[in-house]
Each structure stands twice: as structure tokens, then as C-alpha cells.
């Protein structure tokens, strides 16, 4: 059923479905969020430029070394392309590592999920380039020595120091990409994939010796060697700092312990945690942390969950608390229901741009489905809007699944947001599959007439918003 629970001041109630909406287009480049939005877009563009520039720089290393003058015949051309493929492939590997390094600059500009999505997209091109590097050089060197590529590869393995490490590195890269392909990944538990993924660091490390000893481009005393070394050191330190040091520091700083586990409906529960200096985390409602509950048999499992409430600090005189709301979806999250108060919690984060940082306009629309409703509650609590400028749509299959529905209703009433509940089974009509069957052929515009001039936050199963 579609029900508008709260009408906002000055807004028409119950727009009849099918009526052509009149989008009230306003200039999106004005208002308090516009400058913030422009800055974020600028940073995104800077990242795009930096990405391409680094690739160009890798190729320019070879050009600056007089590479073009060494290409005279087919053999040399094959060798040259092989070298370039290696440079470009390795540069992509560096970019992939940096995208996965949780750099705050990247996270703030494009968000954690888009950074990882791009990380995944680079996987196959990087592998193809590295494979091409190996094959073309075996062919090119083989042509120069009158050997076929296979005997040349054997000769390289056995005769040239450090080359066997390069072969090992290649095998590891292949293993990492293959286990990361979606089809393969679903056959293995997450932990297996994660373990294999850690081999990337080994692959990158063992690829280093042959680059510096066999690769003439990075010979001792060349500036190219220093550039390449800086890439290695820079990427390594970024990973060490942001993936290891920062989480450890945050864990010690906030000293989180489980305070209590509150069941909402069967299979869904909130975990409340108390800790220190939680005021430093305010404004992060809706963003997610990676949680590790340090209890026997659980400590090695990392759970990414969003906050379902702004950190509660100070005035209410209670202990400062953080809250997440979890749906029992797998073996790992099922065990969380039995967490005992006092369990220590390690955290990484906050990550993501599901927060005010992503705002660009005055009007805001929040759409959540299922357990995806819960981060909206935290966002609704913190993101600024004037009464009447926010619309909240909650989609779930039954009223029982309106997780934290009462709290959201209360918040909407207090802050002057329009609230719709969309409950019921899925519609058969694929055109409006995101709506319950009872809503007929309603469209988003029927709920939010000026959606083209609003920031829309959507949180739900990945198939649902499509």
C-alpha cells in the first residue's frame, strides 16, 4: 500500500498517479551545497586526470629514455610493445592498489563503492597488459636470438637472475584475477577470495627485482629508477597507513565495546556500542564502518555496516553510543545476535559518501528498501534541510519490516519531512518493479514531483533501484 503519512507544509498531498508532473527546475549551481558539490566534482575530475596522467607518465618513461630510436625492425618493435605493456600494466596495478587503499581524498570525491567498482574494472586490463608484456618480450627476445618464444621463456627462467620471480609474480596475478571474477567468486567463501587477494601484495613485491635488475629502463643511476621506486614506496606507505595504521589508531582511540544487542523483529537487531570520543564521529550518520567483533571465532570476520543513528553523545547523559542495525543474512551476521555485552570492537572507517558530503541541492529525497532503511534514519537525523524540503520513501514487503519505522516517523515529524510507506509484495510489472503491486503504475515523480531538482539517496538491495 502506498500511504503518505506526513504531509509537509505547503505540499500537495496524494498526487494522483499518471498526472504529468511539473518539474520545478531551479538552478542547481546556487545554494549552500552548490559550492561543496562543485568542489567534489572538481576533485573527481582531478582524479580522472591524475589517473590518465600516471598512465601517460609510465609510457613517457620509455619515450624519455630514447625508446623510439630503438625501434628499427619488427623484432625491436615487438620488444618495445612488450616493454610498454609491462609499464602500463604495472601502472594499472599501482592504481588498483591505491583505489583499494581507502585514501580519504578518493573516498570523499567518488565514494568507497565507486572507487572499488573502478578497481574491479581495472583488474582484467591490468592482467591482459602483464600477460602481453610476458608474451611479447619472450617473442621479441626469442626473435633476436633465433629461439621460439617457449624456449626463450625457459631460457629466461633458467639463465637470467630474478626472472623466475617475475614468472611467479605473473602466476599470482593470474590467480588473483581469476578468483575475483564474479562467477568464480560465488563458488568460494569470502575468506578464500580475501586470502588469495592478499597474494597481490606478494605478486607486486616479487615483480620488483626483475624490473630493476633486468629492465634496462630502470638501471642504476637513472631518474626512471627513482620515479618507479617512488611509485612503489608511495603505494606501499599509503596501504600501510590507511589500511593498517589508521584502523589500529581509530580502534584504540574510540575503545568501542558492545553495550547491548536489541532485537527488532526476528532476524533483525541493533547493536549498540559505547566508546570514547564519539563526538569526533558525528556527521557520519549513514556512512559505514568495517566492524570486527573481537570475540572468539569472530574476530577475523570483517562486517561492513552503516550507522543506523548519529553517534549519541553528551547531553542525554547516557554513555556515548554508536548504533548499527543488522539483518541476519549469513552465517557471519547470524552470530552477531549472540554478541555479549563488553565485547571489544575494532573499527575501520568511516567510509563512503552516503552523507551530507554528497549533497548538491537544497531538496533531498531518501529512498530505502528493506534493511537499507536503517542508514536513512541516521542520514535523516543529520543532513540539513528546511521543513518541506525532504521526502522519505520506505519500501518493504510488510509493515513489520519497516525497521526503525517509528524512529523515522518521529524524525520526519520533528524535522518536517514528507514520509511515504510503500509496503506489499513486488509488482509483476517490470516497469515499476521497485514499487509494490498495490501502487499500480506510479512513478517516482508521482511521489516527488520535483525530483529532478533534488539529491536522491537510495539504499537497498543492488537489484532493486535498477
Amino acid at each position: 500500500m502506498k500511504s503518505q503519512l506526513l504531509a509537509s507544509p505547503g505540499q500537495r498531498v496524494g498526487t494522483s498517479p499518471g498526472q504529468p508532473p511539473v518539474p520545478a527546475r531551479r538552478n542547481p549551481t546556487r545554494g549552500r551545497f552548490a559550492a561543496q558539490h562543485r568542489r567534489r566534482m572538481f576533485r573527481t575530475d582531478m582524479l580522472t586526470v591524475a589517473l590518465w596522467a600516471s598512465l601517460a607518465a609510465a609510457l613517457a618513461l620509455w619515450l624519455a629514455d630514447g625508446g623510439m630510436s630503438s625501434v628499427g625492425n619488427l623484432t625491436q618493435a615487438v620488444t618495445a610493445v612488450g616493454i610498454l605493456a609491462g609499464l602500463a600494466g604495472m601502472d594499472l596495478v599501482f592504481l588498483m592498489l591505491l583505489l583499494a587503499a581507502r585514501l580519504p581524498f578518493v573516498d570523499g570525491a567518488v565514494g568507497h563503492d565507486r572507487a572499488l567498482e573502478f578497481h574491479r574494472k581495472l583488474g582484467k586490463p591490468a592482467l591482459y597488459l602483464l600477460l602481453a608484456h610476458g608474451l611479447l618480450l619472450a617473442t621479441g627476445y626469442g626473435m633476436a636470438e633465433g629461439l621460439n618464444p617457449v624456449s626463450e621463456a625457459v631460457a629466461l627462467w633458467t639463465l637470467v637472475p630474478d626472472m623466475w620471480l617475475a614468472f611467479v609474480s605473473m602466476a599470482l596475478f593470474i590467480a588473483v584475477v581469476v578468483t575475483s571474477l564474479v562467477a568464480v567468486r560465488h563458488r568460494f567463501p569470502y575468506e578464500f577470495w580475501y586470502f588469495v587477494h592478499l597474494l597481490t601484495y606478494l605478486a607486486v613485491a616479487v615483480a620488483l627485482p626483475h624490473q630493476f635488475s633486468v629492465g634496462g629502463l630502470f638501471a642504476e643511476g637513472t631518474w626512471q629508477r627513482w620515479y618507479w621506486l617512488l611509485l612503489y614506496i608511495g603505494t606501499g606507505s599509503a596501504l600501510a597507513w590507511f589500511r593498517i595504521a589508521r584502523p589500529v589508531i581509530a580502534t584504540y582511540r574510540h575503545q568501542l565495546t558492545v553495550r547491548r544487542v536489541v532485537p527488532l523483529v526476528p532476524g533483525v537487531f541493533s547493536i549498540e556500542m559505547s566508546g570514547l570520543r564519539l563526538n569526533e564521529l558525528s556527521g557520519n550518520g549513514g556512512r559505514f564502518f568495517v566492524w570486527r567483533f573481537l570475540a572468539p571465532g569472530m574476530w577475523w570476520q570483517a562486517h561492513p555496516f552503516s550507522l543506523s543513528a548519529e553517534p549519541q553523545v553528551g547531553k542525554s547523559s547516557r554513555q556515548p553510543t554508536l548504533r548499527i542495525t543488522v539483518r541476519n543474512l549469513g552465517a557471519g551476521s547470524a552470530r552477531l545476535a549472540s554478541l555479549k555485552p563488553g565485547t571489544k570492537v575494532a573499527i575501520e572507517g568511516p567510509y563512503g559518501v552516503f552523507s551530507t558530503a554528497a549533497r548538491s541541492r537544497e531538496h533531498v529525497v531518501m529512498i530505502g528498501a528493506g534493511i537499507g532503511i536503517t542508514p536513512l534514519r541516521a542520514l535523516l537525523e543529520s543532513t540539513p534541510f528546511a521543513p518541506g524540503q525532504a521526502t522519505v520513501l520506505l519500501r518493504c514487503s510488510s509493515t513489520e519490516e519497516l525497521f526503525l519505522g517509528d524512529e523515522i516517523l518521529e524524525l520526519c515529524r520533528k524535522r518536517g519531512a514528507t514520509l511515504f510507506h510503500l509496503t506489499g509484495p513486488r509488482s509483476a510489472n517490470t516497469q515499476s518493479a521497485w514499487l509494490p503491486a498495490s501502487a499500480g503504475t506510479s512513478r517516482l515523480r508521482d511521489f516527488v514531483p520535483d525530483i529532478t531538482d533534488a539529491d536522491v539517496y537510495i539504499c537497498g538491495p543492488s537489484a532493486w533501484p535498477a
Binding site: V49, W52, A60, L63, G216, A219
Partner: protein, 186 residues
Amino acid sequence: MRLRAGISAALASAAILLVGWQAGAQVTESNASAVTTSAAGNTAGTAGGTASGTGSTAKGTTGSSASGSSSGTGAGSSSSTGSSSSSTLGASAKAGGTYAGTAVETRFGTVQVQVTIKAGVITDVTALHLTDQEQRSVQISARAAPLLRSEVLSAQSANVQTIGGATFTSEAYLTSLQAALDAAHF
């Protein structure tokens, strides 16, 4: 926004590639002059070596940039290879003298060295021919050869570390040197 990013990225990349290209062109030019001088030096060295009366040989390779080197060594020698000279010189053994190693083929060209032994001590190592098949390898071998020479002189054997970034040159250099030392029964 995406358009702006795309254009900026394309411009930045093009600029970087252009700078690289220009730097490369300059490197090539300066290398060309460096090659001529180092080749001239080589010629003098090997000419001196061959003039010392060993009758040793260098394989007369052709190569555009190292033409000075090959013509210099070619002048005083026949076309026989190092192995034959080592057999003839093997007899004179420990007294000392100058011995040429085998010519070792690498993917970047031939490497052959000659060792001078006096009273059981390696006093000099001269490169008769170094890798020269690509612009880059001339540069690399020109840098690696003096380092290898000084390491060999201090180690008094062919058992020294290869030079980073000059693996092929180093390996071939040391192989040729070992052959020369074997020939000298050193």
C-alpha cells in the same frame, strides 16, 4: 563535468607524452655523441691490447654505432674466435700475459673481454666488445663495464655480483672473463 575531466585528462596525458618524446630525442642525440667517444676509447684500449703481441682476436661484428670499436679490433686480428686463441695461449700459462675470453652472444650483442695477468695477479680487464644492439644497451654496457672491471680487479676472480640493470652485459662479461681465466689457468 565528465567532458571537462575527459578533455583535461587527454591534454595532460598528451603533454606528458610529448615531454617524454622530446626528452627521448635529446637523450638519443647526447647518447650518439657519448657512443662515439666511448667507442673511440674502446678502440684505443683494444688497439693497445692487441698491440701487446698476444695475437688475440675479437669477433669482427658489424654494428652501426660501434663501428669504431669493431674496426679497431679487426685491424689487428684474424677472424678466429676466442676459444682457439685460448688453446694456443693455454701453454704459456702462469707466467702472465694477456688472454682473451670467449665471445659470448647475448640478445643485445656480443660480449668479449680480455684479461691481463702479471705474476699471478689480474692487473687489467679490457672489453674487446660490449653489447651494442640497441641504443640503450650501449649506454648500459658503457656504464657497467668500468664497474665490473674494478670489481674483478679487487675480487681477483670472475666471481663478482652482476650490476643491477645490466644483467645481460654482466653475465656475458663474467662468462667471457672466466673463459679467459681458464685459458690462463689462473
